[in-house]
Symmetry: C2
Subunit: 245 residues, 2 copies
């Protein structure tokens, strides 16, 4: 599996993905699930992917190759909505070629989901969730984040902490905790984490931060969080109706 999170907050965008790919527990590999399409000063697009590796690799290959061809591509479409449409179209094209357009074929799940966020000059930052069927939804200030892959373990902490006006650095801290919880509970999600923060209207070249087990900040946050949780837990009272048992 995979775990990816993207947020569209007041101050900017956050993207994070794990890097474990598995086909059964005896075939585990590391693949980056974050791809950047950028033109300095003009557009900054980040694409996260989950699902069937053959499908996601093909979709990204085609999207990348086509940026040097004629026709609409991620580096020339006028809006992020068009970019999401293009990713959806490419997902359908690959699924049509590989599995006759079915997500399930011969017991194999060919499906893939994508998160596409970024900013194109002339627009505010936007974030889309593209489904295996190629259709998509957009994040709003009411629902400022999307997850794909093994999303459930790490959802409660985000639900408790993140709002549209949460500062980027705090959202990043929360995201790392969300990954830590997921990794502890599910073997198919693994380090390193790729993280990218984009400040609204900066159009700055984005650096992907790669966070491994030895990252001092990540270790400090995980340790502090674990210790803090146990401390809060032990401070909470036991119910008196347990005395009877």
């Amino acid at each position: 599996m995979t775990y990816c999170v993207a947020m569209r907050l007041e101050s900017g965008l956050l993207f994070a993905s794990d890097s474990r790919t598995n086909a059964g527990v005896d075939h585990i590999a590391t693949f980056r699930k974050m791809n950047v399409f950028e033109q300095a000063g003009e557009r900054q697009l980040v694409l996260l992917n989950s699902g069937n590796l053959a499908t996601t690799q093909s979709v990204i290959s085609l999207l990348s190759t086509r940026t040097t061809h004629d026709g609409p591509h991620l580096l020339n479409v006028p809006t992020l909505y068009h970019a999401a449409e293009l990713v959806g179209q490419t997902v359908r094209e690959v699924m049509q070629r590989d599995s006759g357009g079915q997500t399930l074929q011969q017991g194999v799940d060919f499906g893939a989901a994508f998160l596409l966020g970024g900013q194109i000059r002339g627009e505010a930052p936007r974030l889309f969730h593209i489904y295996p069927q190629g259709n998509f939804i957009e994040a709003t200030s009411d629902t400022p984040y999307f997850q794909i892959g093994e999303a459930k373990y790490g959802k409660p902490i985000i639900d408790r902490v993140v709002r549209y006006d949460t500062p980027l650095a705090q959202a990043a801290k929360c995201t790392l905790i969300s990954f830590d919880s997921t990794i502890r509970s599910n073997l198919s999600v693994g380090l390193p984490i790729d993280m990218l923060l984009y400040r609204s209207d900066s159009f700055a070249r984005s650096a992907i931060q790669r966070i491994g087990a030895d990252d001092p900040y990540f270790s400090a946050v995980c340790r502090g969080w674990g210790e803090g949780l146990r401390e809060v837990f032990s401070r909470l009272p036991d119910a008196d109706w347990f005395d009877a048992v």
Copy 2:
């Protein structure tokens, strides 16, 4: 969906289940998912269920009715292993009748999973997880708890806190937090929670504690936990590599 947890700890057994059943979001009802089979001083069995309501109700109806008939039933089998076998057999029987033994039939999932725990005189307390196929596994001191239904949201907190030697009252507190996290993140799991604690070798009649939104202890734990989390979160430092963004 449903969320159920059962634990087999050094000091006894814990069972908890939510009570929301839904067939689509416009057909939501409250059903108890915890059933007790007991003979004071001799055996104490608790059965939690998740999955297709028609299947689980039939399984429980048959198991209950048969306790007054001849032949092996939950109130006369010699060990908890035999009891788990009996539940598994009954699951297979109902699935055979209703869907030709297939979990998926006509686009409907007929599957149901059960947690069966308790103590029969002559044995230590035991806990089993029975699958929709009727086979089952048993909890050990390495893996002292099982979940069925919407298990993922509430797993991280249990993984962090509960060990085989965790006292029952603490395990109960952790379980309530696990339910709170699940209920906040998933509409298909809802209050009230049914909870039952069994102290090893007591063979005491077990009282099911029904915990609703107005339960003062549950409210205090949820509020204290939420506030504590936010406090721990705000105490953790922001990374300096975010300054550049």
